[in-house]
Symmetry: none
Subunit: 420 residues, 2 copies
Amino acid sequence: MNSVHGELITIGDELLSGRVVNSNAAHIARHLILAGFELRWATVVGDREEDITAALIRAMQRAAFVLATGGLGPTEDDRTSAAVASTLGRALRRDPQSWDILDMHLKKANATMTPGVAKMADLPEGAQRIDFSRPRAGYAILDLERPLFFLPGIPEEMADMLRDFVLPTLRDRFPGQKVIHSRVLRIFGLRESEIGARLSDFHQLYPDLRVGYLPHFPENRLTLTVQASGREVADTILNQAALTVGQRLGELHIYGEGEDTLEGVVGRLLLEKDETLALAESCTGGLIAHLITNLAGSSAYFDRGMVTYSDAAKVTHLHVPAETIEQYGSVSAEAAEAMVRGLRKETDAGLALAITGIAGPGGGTMEKPVGTVFLALLHRRGLRVERFQFRGTRLEIKTVAAYTALDWIRRAMIDDSFFS
Amino acid sequence: MNSVHGELITIGDELLSGRVVNSNAAHIARHLILAGFELRWATVVGDREEDITAALIRAMQRAAFVLATGGLGPTEDDRTSAAVASTLGRALRRDPQSWDILDMHLKKANATMTPGVAKMADLPEGAQRIDFSRPRAGYAILDLERPLFFLPGIPEEMADMLRDFVLPTLRDRFPGQKVIHSRVLRIFGLRESEIGARLSDFHQLYPDLRVGYLPHFPENRLTLTVQASGREVADTILNQAALTVGQRLGELHIYGEGEDTLEGVVGRLLLEKDETLALAESCTGGLIAHLITNLAGSSAYFDRGMVTYSDAAKVTHLHVPAETIEQYGSVSAEAAEAMVRGLRKETDAGLALAITGIAGPGGGTMEKPVGTVFLALLHRRGLRVERFQFRGTRLEIKTVAAYTALDWIRRAMIDDSFFS
């Protein structure tokens, strides 16, 4: 499909001992493909210098570019730079800029330079540091026919450098790649098999388009991919296809695209509608509040959350009548409604949401098995209370319950019939 | 460290496109190590026959045994057996037993033989089928100096064959292997570079021991690995080494071992000491409550949490005097203390913890930059309030702040001098 074949070398004993699953490799592969490059070989080596060297030599023989991750840190077992230097027959030289960045960082943290950290400033001759704003290891060697990239093994740092430096550099170096254009639709509330069934004739409707299903608990992601020489042609096809998906699955099931998150969409809508939110969480134990407050600026619309785990807390803070709990149980539609009405009394927030349920693994009964969850949402437009039955581990039930709550808030704000 | 070094070749386009994370590799590595064998090289190739062949040739040159997974199925892109045959210069021969098993299986399912399925009965000469009871692909070639194993890519099938056939066969073939024993120490509150510096002479003290550093934000994991003929010898060395690590890093920095989590250790201690916990969270936004309630049975010791994001919520629910907020700001030692004292009034919980800070990226000032966090912990033994300065993204600051809070609760329960 593509003539530019790269090789990935992931470095680290932890990858060969099975302590860590090599998720960096999958991330890199996915992003290279989207940028029009193909990963043809992937090699994993431990921290032995000779093995890193052997892998590098081999990769430089057969691949058009080489990307390596790991082994750039401050400890004894970080030997990537030494291996690179000996492979290329270049000296390790202290890079003044790297030194300054590390030194400044240490001073800010009131720490002193150690030989280990100092080592991170020693780069093979001709290497070009990637990140100049932070003390992140990572460099490229671009004065060779085949460019070499050495990135940290820490996933966030690797991902940033891949996106901001490696991919643009590869595009410069190998221009004219037929770029693969794609759109990711984010879906909540439909199973993968259900989505598949509703789109079963999709490849007949759009023969040039590739559809990828990516379950990402508790949501699903649908990737539409098309190869085209220009963005406009690609966009026309992708837009049409996304429309069809919306018709087939129901627009409300698609909560966003690309890097959207459900909590991000909710936050954007709350801001747009000038609404504020208060939460009363029992079974989700603070997870909804945590997701909401992961967003910068969430204090503009998030008022407060109460994690009323004990019955006493439900009575004290949410004015749930003790009799309600006694008669119906703290996991009931009645308790959820009492929680949300009590919460409403305490705050001026426009939207009040309460959730109570059994996350398990204990506490289930015949009538209310593990995974039983009640949601209540109160707004000046109305009140909605509903029972759900989820499945999975404790964390899975917490997670799907929290997403369902976020999805309710989203729908309440865009669906006029939500409360009717 | 070990004299028997194996190579793993995982085969499949899906591994190089990032559609699938290579979890088979981690599984195989873990089980080989526990059985005394070391995986020294791991190679990933796609479905191209020439790439499989190249990887095989290379592996047979350097490894004492080769294990490959994937490419044994019925479809066009399953080319492992063809590659094996051509690499070894052996013919593909129909294996009657494999044919019978496949045929029987198809008949049971009322299906007929297809050329694809028939291909699965064609094994390289000298190959020995692994599973005789089910229609699972997978064979070994044991008439060579270096044994070769070809397993299916389907995780369950691979795992069964690894356990029931590959490991016993390797033990037969390479008797007297020293088994590798390891211990993982979980550390919070020290940087990786700091740990490295304090243990810089460790390899001199324990020359037979291998130390692995595994940063796992916001904690660090230290793996001690030793090769020994018996568990007792290994344990003696590991225990001694763990003691030394404790002395060097400070026992209190090591919060657990193996699969321990900080919230799990905190939960265990709360149960043991018969304590209950209430939380008032501002900057962590519910994350501490979420971590605590991820554990089954946490309702026994977790009373409630308040996510008092707005000042109004701090005043209403935690009785923080409006003047305190006005005079010192809601991110201040005074506000943290007022929050924890107010929380204490609302609940009978033995431990009350309050946290307030600036998670960023906005909201920082010269005096209180992003990452400024105040913690307050109140217990009948005393009150402790402290200021912290964290760094990172919003989520990183939330996370390290939440871990610091959990670590305070842990220390408060095991360190007599915590409140003094």
